[in-house]
């Protein structure tokens, strides 16, 4: 009975950990820990400028669209 209780707790703990820290299989090539950790950092950094770029393009497209409609 006690054993079942412990097993249940262990499964619950494992499930919680899995949700908190998603486990990924890394495929047949080694991504390299340094590369893996570093790309998360560098991606966070470049995501800011990328967001600016994406939204700027959207704004430019929107404005260009207004003028095109007016022209029509």
């Amino acid at each position: 009975m006690k054993q079942t209780k412990y097993a249940g707790r262990s499964i619950l703990l494992l499930a919680t950990l899995c949700l908190l820290f998603p486990f990924y299989s890394y495929g047949y090539i080694d991504p390299g820990t340094g590369s893996y950790v570093f790309q998360i950092l560098v991606a966070a950094l470049v995501a800011v400028s990328f967001a600016v770029k994406v939204y700027w393009l959207k704004i430019k497209g929107f404005i260009a669209g207004l003028f095109t409609k007016k022209g029509k």
Partner: protein, 464 residues
């Protein structure tokens, strides 16, 4: 290479499947473990999109009974690539185009819920003049939140050699021959000029990336690593693309790129030589041509323009760059310019020296062109004429070859700074050695020069 039921030597690392030859046809076995990903590639229409854009090699599904092992899910037959070439044989723009293709494919894959699980430059080949991904099994279902597993490989296979070629020396692409999985980033970082640290893209993806690799060497991925959003992954791809696009190299001042401006050929003599080569091509109509010492491909083009798949091999990266830019500009389908030294051709590398094949085992050479080449081999490289003739007899079925006598100014220039130790280097000596292996079909003097152009057909059976 094309033996019955033989697995292709370079396709054993990925457990998703492998290539094999059967009845002179190339097949790819897809293993059951990979079925989910293969089905998604087809069902998501990613395959259709990439093949339609000419970015992925097309294939057809075949009878699964052709499978080599019991764990087969499918057997597919990919379109055949006429010439297999390797990244260290590409010029700067070829490697750059292959890098941009890989990033573009990864972006399209993400739109379809998939991701590239590797980014090896060896997975790209040039087909109809353009880079194409040939590994159909490189895709996997994209697990949301996971960083790009092939980021390290992309930087090592593409970004590092391109940066070294652009910022240090274009010949450093040859380093890829030494390092099968791309140039180690710590080495690239130490070889790049200090000034490259002022470029954010190179500072981050090479210099800091290399430091991070050293810091985490032999350590597992930390448990508390945060997931990476799809947007962040797209930002990373955008950053890598910017890094690649900003790298440029312009050939100038090299030995061969201005060759045609510096020869002793008159326009008339060059036109005659072109006409003769065209005649020879028409006479034998070869299936494949390899132009050795092709320079910018003026004579190779005579074959390619006839729809004959042609490799234009030259030692000079600048000449090959010029040739490739012309291929790209004119959308030429049958020409493949490559960097290579015929006196030291690419060897077999990788596991058991057979994972990546030697240059001469990869090309089906029906006809070889050796124009203004023999004097470089015989005099500049001290290769006896007998060895040269023997080499060509094992490499091709027919041969268009030019003999340039000692009295020619180009040969005199080669002999100006050295002792003449070549008593057999004469028309008589040349013909004697080549007739050991070949029948001379045509012998044409090029009017206005002292040179002779030959069309030869192999008599003895060498390598088929």
């Amino acid at each position: 290479m094309k033996g019955e039921n033989t697995a292709v030597s370079g396709s054993f690392r990925d457990p998703s499947g492998f290539l094999f030859w059967h009845e002179q046809r190339l097949y790819r076995q897809v293993n059951r473990d990979y079925s989910e990903h293969y089905d998604l590639l087809i069902a998501s229409r990613l395959y259709d999109k990439l093949v339609g854009a000419g970015q992925l090699i097309a294939h057809e599904e075949c009878d699964v009974r052709l499978a080599r092992t019991p764990d087969a899910y499918k057997v597919i037959r990919p379109e055949l690539v006429p010439f297999i070439s390797y990244p260290f044989e590409w010029c700067f723009s070829q490697l750059k185009d292959a890098a941009l293709l890989t990033l573009d494919i990864q972006r399209t894959a993400l739109e379809h819920g998939m991701s590239l699980k590797d980014a090896s430059a060896y997975n790209v080949q040039f087909v109809h003049g353009r880079p194409v991904l040939i590994d159909t099994l490189s895709f996997e279902k994209y697990p949301a939140g996971r960083p790009w597993v092939a980021y390290r490989q992309f930087c090592q296979h593409f970004l590092a050699p391109l940066a070294l070629m652009a910022h240090r020396d274009v010949r450093l692409n040859q380093m890829s021959r030494l390092f099968l999985d791309g140039i180690p980033l710590d080495l690239a970082s130490s070889l790049l000029p200090a000034g490259t640290r002022w470029r954010f893209s190179l500072l981050s993806h090479i210099h800091m990336h290399a430091r991070s690799q050293q810091r985490y060497a032999d350590k597992p991925v930390p448990g508390k690593t945060r997931p990476m959003s799809r947007f962040a992954l797209l930002a990373l791809l955008n950053s890598l693309e910017t890094a690649v696009r900003k790298l440029s190299w312009r050939p100038r001042g090299s030995e061969w790129a201005e060759y045609y401006e510096n020869t002793n050929y008159s326009d008339q003599a060059r036109d005659l030589k072109k006409k003769l080569v065209a005649d020879f091509l028409q006479q034998l109509n070869p299936g494949h041509v390899c132009d050795i010492g092709a320079n910018t491909g003026v004579f190779s083009r005579l074959a390619a323009e006839r729809g004959i798949p042609t490799v234009a091999l030259d030692i000079d990266a600048a000449a090959v760059e010029k040739n490739y830019l012309q291929v790209r500009r004119a959308d030429e389908k049958f020409m493949l310019p490559l960097v290579g030294d015929i006196t030291n051709p690419s060897p077999g590398i990788g596991w058991e020296n057979s994972e990546r094949l030697p240059l001469l085992q990869r090309f089906p050479v029906d006809m070889a062109l050796a124009l203004a080449l023999v004097h470089h081999l015989a005099i500049a490289n001290n290769l006896p004429l007998a060895k040269i003739a023997d080499f060509f007899s094992r490499s091709c079925r027919s041969l268009v070859i030019e003999f340039i006598p000692k009295s020619d100014s180009q040969v005199r220039r080669l002999l100006a700074t050295r002792e003449d130790i070549f008593p057999d280097y004469s028309v008589v000596g040349f013909e004697k050695e080549f007739q050991e292996h070949f029948t001379i079909e045509r012998r044409e003097a090029i009017a206005g020069t002292e040179r002779i152009l030959y069309l030869m057909r192999r008599r003895v059976h060498g390598r088929e």
